[in-house]
């Protein structure tokens, strides 16, 4: 049996499979399909889905709900991520598990509502003030829209952190045939909910404090300001220095748990096509066609976009002389690869005209 569905529907099914119990969002093409489906499906499952008065209210409601123990998700596109900005920082600072879906469209500003783009790659990385770590997963197929949304919930819980699912208009709204077993039920890991103890106690710095929630056990505090382990505001340099290092190291020290790539090596390959998201479709075709011409080439599809999976990329770069990075922006992820590539030639293919990079363009760049 196979199914015929788009990525937005697969994201909704992933969220429901992962036990999402709270959703708030504001209408925006091309992410509205997620909002409408959650409004339809979540209440029947005992959850709450609400359309906020704007994106700011929507993510704010999600953060509040998460502090009662709800598994929360919101979904929008680039213009909405702009409005999420300060609350992304709040979720980082307050260590709130939250899944944020960005169904990218062409930007900047209103850009193209029904036009594909991958222009939010660095934006989701650096989209709020102060400097902070972030996790972002980029599905490259409709089946991955399901599996990586499930994974995003797991990582959000594991690290008490906002986690992005970075999709795009074509993945979100293109009907695709998927084997039905891609939607197998997943085991939803029960979260460790503590009922006592300081809500922000970590030792060592890379530890993630167990989640506390309102209404269970002794009262807890939450704050977006620099704070101590009890969330009382403080300016003490040792305390706030430790806090900010903790926010980084709780993720940076566990990269092996986050790294996710689809590596397709070939012996003797001197070229590597490194792609992510919807552009991986053309990249996979280009790799296949290049090999059919008798030219060895390797492929790497990066699914855990942030933090950059440096170990996996380093492995894939061994023996490679040229890396081709196709993306629907002017080189946002290419700069991360250049950072890791040493003397290797890094060739970017960037399209910002609302069309997908073609397998032919990639094939020509591989040589």
């Amino acid at each position: 049996m196979r199914e015929y569905l788009d990525g937005n529907a697969a994201i909704v099914r992933g969220a429901l499979a992962a036990g999402c119990s709270f959703f708030a969002g504001y209408p925006i093409t091309p992410a509205s399909g997620i909002l409408m489906a959650m409004m339809r499906e979540l209440p029947a499952r005992g959850g709450i889905a609400i359309q906020g008065e704007d994106e700011i209210a929507s993510i704010g409601m999600c953060i509040g709900a998460a502090m009662t123990g709800a598994r929360a998700m919101t979904a929008t596109s680039g213009p909405g991520i702009s409005l999420y900005s300060e609350n992304i920082g709040l979720a980082v600072m307050g260590e709130v598990p939250l899944v944020i879906v960005d169904v990218q469209r062409l930007g900047p500003a209103t850009g193209g509502a029904t036009t594909v783009g991958q222009g939010d790659v660095q934006f989701v990385r650096w989209g709020t003030s102060g400097g902070y770590p972030i996790i972002a997963l980029a599905p490259s197929t409709v089946a991955e829209c399901y599996s990586l949304t499930v994974r995003a919930f797991e990582l959000a819980e594991r690290f008490r952190s906002p986690v992005f699912v970075l999709a795009d208009k074509e993945l979100g709204m293109t009907l695709t045939t998927v084997e039905a077993d891609a939607f197998a039920p997943v085991e939803v890991r029960r979260r460790e909910l503590a009922t006592a103890g300081a809500p922000y106690r970590y030792e060592p710095a890379g530890d993630v404090p167990p989640m506390r929630r309102y209404g269970t056990g002794e009262p807890i505090r939450f704050t977006g300001s620099s704070h101590d382990e009890g969330a009382l505001i403080t300016k003490g340099p040792p305390t706030i220095g430790a806090l900010n290092r903790h926010l980084a190291s709780k993720i940076d020290e566990h990269l092996d748990e986050i790294e996710l790539v689809d590596w397709d090596p070939q012996p003797g390959a001197r070229s590597l096509v490194l792609s992510y998201g919807v552009t991986a479709g053309a990249a996979r075709l280009a790799v296949e066609r290049t090999r059919a011409r008798g030219v060895a080439v390797a492929g790497l599809v990066v699914q855990s976009l942030w933090p950059v999976p440096e170990a996996a990329i380093g492995l894939a770069l061994e023996g490679i002389g040229r890396v081709v990075v196709p993306e629907l922006n002017l080189g946002q992820y290419r700069r991360e690869i250049e950072r890791l590539a040493g003397d290797r030639e890094v060739v970017g293919i960037g399209r910002v005209d609302g069309e997908l990079v073609t397998p032919e363009e990639i094939g020509a760049a591989v040589g």
Binding site: A57, L90, T177, T216, R221, L285
Partner: protein
Amino acid sequence: MTAAIETIATFRNRLPYPFCPGCGHGSVLDRLDQALVRLGRDPSRVVIVSDIGCSGLSDQYFATNAFHGLHGRSITYATGIKLADPSLEVVVVMGDGGTGIGGTHLINAARRNVGITVVVMNNLNFGMTGGQHSTTTPEGAITSTTPGGNLEHPLDICATVGVNGAAFVYRGTSFDDELADRMLEAIERPGFALLDVWELFTAYFVKPNRFSRKAMESLMADADLPPGVLFRRDVAEYAAAYRAAHADDEVRSLATPIPIGFAAPLDQPVTLVVAGSAGGKVRSAARLVGEAAIRSGLWAVQRDDYPVTVQTGHSVAQLVLSPREMPLATVAAPDVLLLLSADGLRKAQPLLPAMRRDGVVVTIPEFAGVETPARVVVLDPAAASTRIGRDDLALVLLAASVAKLELLPVDALRAAAGTGAYAEANLAAIETGLGLARD
């Protein structure tokens, strides 16, 4: 031995307030403490959500749960908390600054009537940041950003939330004897409740404006901002109403598995582009063909293109049918192009010269003269056995193309169309198309 009954004497903790001498914040928080004591709920069931500014410090002096978030957004966090766990008592403490930057949340919370209580500590200007004017600064008032006197009309917070549906609205001052009573009433009343509590701001506002308790009370009269309970309504609390409205919702499976019961002759991928007008059921017709392909053991991918508007302009569906799984990617030129309308032609024009000689353009007599290396097949809807509506043209021509080009078994298309609300009309359109293909 007698069991000791422990009553909570205070919801305050032991920390002293940090507010300026003479500031009203402390007495407002003392009244809130009294109201919470009389409410009598366990502190672990109460959440105080504070905004930014000196009002944002408030939560630190209570032994309840606390949420200190971003400026102007306190109402949104409170809404999420209450929606997700209606058994919690949620009180927002914000300043007048928050009613400006968070004005839309104020209005919409009132409309929505989620059961939260908002206490606005309204000292008529920004305190913590240095005495700048706010939404509630009186006309003519001197502040650090209105050195010549405020030219803006002050926001009537109470009327704003009141006319938009709030369950309870009260205006008073930090000196009011009844403040704790009104706070308790606000907390206990279902729906959205707001108390606009005016205060003296001794550090900045009082001196340049010769402000006092008496001046504050006469300002209320002069500015037509009367004190007292201004709105008291019986409303349905949103979190409860939401749950009641969905109590009988049934969980339906989202899985829509498509059985494979046919076999298609394709050994290479075929790309069809259907170019028509928005509102012409282009996408839904193409979807039926995709489903028919899946029923025939093929893999279908349908990528749509249309303007942001609805029901005007072009609607183009690109359908790839393949004997093996195909990633989502652009196809340079289609094997089959269906031209249905002038909108579709405008959008598909660049594809025509790029098509191969063994490609096929299927169209209506109006576009019979298009220039392309591909073979042009003209089907005349006027020759059909029944009149073909604008909405049906896409499916009629798709069915005709499927049959003429032998892409799929037509029974697979019939099977795909045989369910759903439009089954009858779709099946009729398919038969019309099959008829056209035979003629």
